[in-house]
């Protein structure tokens, strides 16, 4: 299929299945002489790692990353950086439940129809485990972007419960297991997700990722616009069904006056009086914060019987047991950050190519 790569100049390729021996990513196009150690990557993987609270899956994976190529004396050399993460907790279990039946809402049916074969163990290639590779690539991308650009993500809605945006405090994100920027809402989510978990049900979520310090000029009109690439980047994350930039869908209901971000000079710099554009105009970064939101559907793996069909074409039911993830959206936050970093790194290099001096 040759669909496992992302990016043009900063380009990564992921591989691996949920229950194979390992997963990994080859990051090509990393500029040389950037300090890069395994710890630079591990810190981000640790944020995504499963099993860290009762609100996410209990699969235990240390997610230890190894750098197999591309560095020398602690610096990148300009050659491909190959990263590998061994799969440790592939429980030996009975897969007869899922081998021939398609879990609704999962990729089981489509992979089977498309390929005529599928690795049904833990979702195979379609497992969210693949996102660890994205986080690893994103860690390298952050090093390419350098310290002047910061990328932060937060969970802004769980099920029907949105945060109070007036109470937004980035410092809160690290203080609760939800990446919630609003302490009051975090407490309510804890109760809500516990309920969902006990009911064997699941909840969707909305994630917001913000990049600050991005220079003006990133994005290549008209098909490699920065927002186009971000939309693709986020939509390819498992279970994502929607992406918006800045005011997003709400912009449809605004008037031209309300939506236009007027400009003034301030301290010798161009300043925008609002950011409905989410930091992107005409597909090119404006220098404002880049603001992306995406929705993650509730996982389809719930602990109750669902109607489905089997690979022989019979009506049947399927019921999932065991490890259960009440809100997969939580762990999507670091993944969204990583994809933002990768898109920006790629466009930073592309901008340099035409003489950009960001």
């Amino acid at each position: 299929m040759a669909g496992s790569s992302f990016g043009t100049l900063f380009r990564f390729t992921t591989w691996g299945e949920s229950h194979g021996p390992a997963i990994g990513v080859v990051v090509d196009g990393v500029p040389p002489r950037i300090p890069l150690a395994e710890s630079d990557i591990q810190q981000w993987l640790d944020k995504r790692r499963p099993g860290q609270s009762r609100y996410t899956t209990q699969r235990q994976e240390p997610d230890l990353v190894k750098i197999l190529s591309g560095t020398f004396d602690g610096q990148t050399t300009g050659t491909p950086v190959s990263l590998m993460i061994e799969n440790v907790d592939q429980r030996s279990r009975d897969y007869s439940n899922v081998a021939d039946r398609f879990r609704p809402g999962h990729a089981d049916y489509t992979y089977w129809k498309k390929y005529g074969i599928r690795d049904y163990r833990g979702g195979g290639r379609a497992s969210a485990r693949e996102t660890a590779s994205r986080v690893a690539a994103g860690a390298v991308a952050r090093k390419v972007l350098g310290p002047a650009i910061t990328i932060r993500g937060a969970l802004v809605q769980v099920g029907p419960h949105a945060i109070d945006r007036a109470a937004w405090d980035w410092a809160q994100v690290a203080q609760n297991p939800f990446w919630c920027p609003d302490a009051g809402t975090a407490a309510r989510w804890a109760d809500y997700i516990d309920e969902v978990r006990k009911a064997g049900s699941s909840a969707g979520a909305i994630i917001e990722v913000v990049a600050s310090g991005v220079p003006v000029g990133l994005g290549e009109p008209v098909y490699d616009k920065l927002d186009g690439d971000l939309a693709r980047a986020m939509m390819t994350i498992n279970a994502v069904k929607a992406v918006e930039i800045g005011a997003g869908f709400a912009a449809a209901a605004l008037s031209g006056e309300e939506n236009s971000d007027e400009m003034r000079m301030q301290d010798g710099k161009v300043t925008f009086l609002s950011n409905n554009a989410g930091g992107i105009l005409g597909g090119i970064s404006t220098g404002q914060d880049i603001v992306v939101r995406f929705a993650v559907k509730p996982t389809s793996s719930i602990l109750r019987a669902m109607r489905t069909v089997d690979s022989e074409g019979n009506d049947t039911e399927i019921e999932m047991h065991g490890r259960h993830d009440p809100c997969v959206g939580i762990r999507a936050v670091p993944v969204g950050e990583a994809m933002m970093a990768c898109v920006l790194a790629d466009h930073l290099l592309r901008y340099l190519a035409i003489g950009g001096d960001p």
Copy 2:
């Protein structure tokens, strides 16, 4: 920038500015022996053409397309199809108003900062005029898809006014100047947009595009997923700020039970009991309708003074006059259809490449 192409196997490249001599598109990767005449393309361009009602811009462009290569005896030959549309109504006018000042909400500032030069006449390359090339490419894509796959678009919200989905009737779309599938709402929009127009203001909109008859199996996990490519395709259309598939953002508020599309056999075929997935699971088409929605912001060209800066770094104001488009979202409907067609054509070819028999 090399960002003017879209697609992998069915790949098109657009060129041209709003006020240059012409615009066009080279469509490469068209399979051979497909009947293709200029009229096959013209019919879709006519739907997008400006100046057809008082609700859109009054620029008069016949948008007559010429096929310059790639066909022989009325059929495609497998070589690149070059299509050209001359620009006719480039009013000679005074551009001093916009030459040195940046229209808020437009790409003026970002193009100027990125490239250090910009064609300020009518928006240059960032003009929505470029979307005529997309529509032309989409017409070719429809021929590649064949008659079994139908792609239809509709406007489902203008400003704050959404349609009544219960009243959805595809036959209505051609009966009003808004592509509105609900006759009652269409009448209300007429009044609303007239008001907006007279006030010199503008309104946003939401478009829904539906593809029916798409076989199971299109989409290349994990970075060339069908939904990822659709998200990029739609987000790169001028003024689009949000894209969603199926239940989209609303999925975040659903429970796993509500969101999962259960399956049953019906007449020997797999049937889904709902379509929250919007026809895509794991990045691959399910055989259900593919449903995409995207939001278009209100155009930033409104007939009142706005605060801005000039290229010398001074605070100033800008006021637009002349032709005015109160709701650019209307003409985005055929563009969204075209992008859907192009994405599907590309993935159809990619599926054939691995032996798919859709």
Copy 3:
């Protein structure tokens, strides 16, 4: 087929058939603010133009290029540069001779088998007329490279007659109709090609293209090596059957001592004592002259009957009449130069992307 594009960042896409209304090229990725006028391109097209001496085809084409997009006030804007050349001398003639029979040595048979349809007029897409688009793209590439990099080509062999390399004088190239750097050999070729022409036969040729002033560092190991891209670039020119860099095939017979280009410092700069490498080591430019040679086969259109088959599967004969090109290799010189320019421009931009300061 989607095979009509070349390059990654400096990327061009050609279109058009020999006997269609026009041919052209879209050059994407051109950096902004480069002065570019039609005359900058026309001067190179004039060198490739047919009908300038009795040694090449007598087709009369003015090959006047039009810039349709991508410039403003005489400078590039960073948007795609669309160039078009109208076909003028498509003689109305009887094609029944070639419509159903395959000319040996031409692409007739393979196009027909691959696509099931072919534009048989003048070779269609497979005509060397396509190379005018390459020359146009190459003219833009030269502007990207700037005046410090010079690219020159010469014919070094016609049929079995090679030049005397000791007599090489670049100034001679413009003094004869063969791009021959050796005056004595040029005179001999004139006689030889006249004989070939009168006999209705044809002669092959070898072209050498040299780029001087190329900075160290261009080329992206290991699959986008500079020599790999040059090999592809030259081999895709019509009728080319071989490409070599530096010592090329002759290197096979050298010893390691003879072949190694030793190094010394000279005036504070690294200097090589020979250039068997042809200016490329490990796929990266060394700063020496880049030297590429390629062989063009004798055109298969000769004025005598040849055995062939027809599209119905019958043995038959075919005999060509009319315009005849005794040595197509002559006009390949500016085409080889153009492809060299395009490859270097692409790699220059790619090098800038990783912080290169050539």
Copy 4:
């Protein structure tokens, strides 16, 4: 640099340095349901493996390949196939000799100038060790091509000593350590290479790779022509300086009559009376054998002092010791075969995409 990938639909990405922990390749785009075991790949790696005769380097590498992803129950699943080969014999040694001095004829100087850093141990990324990854990818490509297409390589010249083509016998290739198809020449080469080895010198070589059973129709004009991709594929192999197809450079000296491959029907099939085209016309396979030759320069690592410079800009000398490879061209045979397989697999899939039925 993002230059570590090859192919469009059958696309592989290699990674790894000579003296890192491992090297590897991710093969993306492999169609599903193809039987694939490690032994299918190992058999080809064993042919390339170093240390098998006294005529090649004495580095001892078992080159054991592991499949880390992309198969299930012994078949490919359509997901990326990740292959890894551990480096075993990275001798701990003193690199001070090469750390700051540039070996003439190697990539030391260009990597250092381009990246400002280089892994000098064993050539780093520029080592021929990378070709093991190519061979692994090629083994997968052969499975994609199926048994009807056979790819065979042979050494046809060592130093100045060419084989006697009249004595060509494919069965001989496996009977000597040189892949020589002519027993008499093989004996002479043994003496010659022993001399070269004892003298601490090195010899170049010419390799010929032939693919039989290739259907008509592979290759995508005009920039992704089959011969263009083959030229790039071979030229990117370490130390290759020249590539030719069919008659190659010799075609320049032929007349049109001699060079044209006339056609006749034979047993209901189109047959060519010669194969100067090397199985490719207009960039598309003709159904004849595809014949490619490429030249490998003598390795620059010879056991005598050579003049060079150091990274501080001083004149100096360098002398190599230890393991020595008198004719690197020998081990390039399986690498050339692998690249042929990869190019054909990619184009087979691309042909299927437009409805080709090879």
